[in-house]
């Protein structure tokens, strides 16, 4: 009985990770990103936010790539507030579930 319960729990955990994925990836188009030093404010603001795992930058393209833990979800309004507090302007956001 114990073995069956454990196997069932493992199956449900595996199934949930397939359905929910490993988290989200947000691609933010940010205006005003001219220098790496100034971009640190975005890294700091985002990494202080619960659920954010990684923050990466493509300064030439004005992009900030954010990955989150599986339970974390952000709206565009929430991202816009964080970017504004860092001193920049959010122009757009796309999101996708990580495989």
């Amino acid at each position: 009985m114990k073995t069956r319960t454990f196997l069932l729990a493992m199956f449900m955990l595996a199934a949930s990770s397939v359905v929910m994925g490993d988290g989200m990836q947000y691609e933010l188009r940010v205006d005003g990103l001219a220098c790496p030093f100034c971009a640190y404010g975005i890294e700091k603001k985002l990494k202080k936010t619960t659920g954010v795992k990684t923050v990466a930058f493509d300064l030439e393209a004005g992009k900030v790539i954010v990955t989150t833990e599986e339970s974390a979800r952000f709206t565009e309004d929430e991202m816009e507030r964080l970017i504004e507090e860092a001193g920049f302007t959010l122009r757009g956001m796309t999101e996708r579930e990580l495989p």
Binding site: D31, G32, C35, F37, C38, K44, K45, L59, G62, A86
Partner: protein, 273 residues
């Protein structure tokens, strides 16, 4: 009568030192100019630790000032700053100089892809905490306005500042000072986020100082105009910045007999948390 003349000479000597060498050390955020004023403010909740060393020479006079500054980003557009300088002069001892508080507010910002333009106003209050020995013996107020254009390659800044200087305990009214700055900067190689980043700058700094007054009379050996050309460099890596530059006199039109400036140099280290 002789004593009065002697006293005036002493004051002249003392304020030549202060006037020539104690130019307003200013809250200069990284990616602001080294000597001029820029519009940068900290991100909301940011703490900045800033250590600066200034050295200046005029004739036989040599002065060094080390300053510890702490700043806090109240919002992304509003920064508060406290400055504590330590002053050392040849033959005049050393010690803590006047404590200062400053605030900068960014009232305009326009962002584009890889570009940020902004404008800020600054207010700085230098207290009389150190008195005559290591300070200026005055409470001074500085107001300024700055515009900045920052892109992946080019930087441009322009600023105007007005320094209103107070009256010393002995009744000397120091002349006010108007400062103007034009700065051009370039990043030769566009670096990625975690790469060390270099920006080279050249500044044109102008200063017009009014005459000092004592007992209602204008002192002849005070006031005048100075222009400097100032090459500088900003090196940053993630949240750490080093800035350095040197002011080289271009032209000086000083009233009466005053020592001309040889150079002024500055080195700044800055951390953002």
């Amino acid at each position: 009568m002789e004593r009065v003349v002697q006293r005036k000479r002493q004051w002249k000597r003392r304020w030549c030192w202060a006037g020539v060498l104690l130019w307003p050390g200013l809250p200069a955020l990284a990616h602001d100019p080294v000597f001029g004023l820029g519009p940068h403010t900290l991100f909301k909740g940011a703490v900045e630790v800033h250590v600066g060393v200034d050295r200046s020479a005029a004739g036989a006079r040599d002065q060094r000032v080390a300053t510890l500054e702490l700043a806090y980003g109240v919002t992304a557009n509003w920064t508060l700053r406290a400055e504590l300088p330590y002053l050392a002069r040849d033959g005049a001892g050393d010690g803590l100089s006047d404590f200062a508080l400053a605030t900068k507010y960014r009232f305009w910002r326009r962002d584009g892809l890889g570009v940020q333009e902004s404008a800020s106003v600054l207010l700085r209050l230098k207290t009389d905490s150190a008195g005559r020995a290591q300070g200026t013996d005055t409470t001074d107020v500085l107001g300024g306005i700055a515009y900045g254009y920052e892109s992946r390659k080019w930087y441009r800044w322009a600023a105007l500042r007005y320094l209103s200087r107070g009256e010393t305990g002995a009744g000397l009214e120091r002349g006010d000072r108007l400062l103007a700055d034009l700065v051009l900067g370039i990043r030769f190689r566009q670096t990625a986020y975690l790469e060390p980043d270099w920006v080279w700058m050249v500044e044109l700094n102008g200063e017009r100082t009014g005459r000092d007054e004592l007992d209602g009379r204008r002192l002849p050996d005070s006031g005048g105009t100075r222009w400097f050309v100032s090459p500088g460099l900003m090196w940053t890596w993630r949240n750490f910045a080093v800035k350095t530059g040197m002011q080289i006199p271009l032209a000086e039109d000083l009233d009466g007999t005053q020592p001309e400036t040889d150079y002024r140099a500055r080195l700044e280290l800055e951390w953002h948390f």
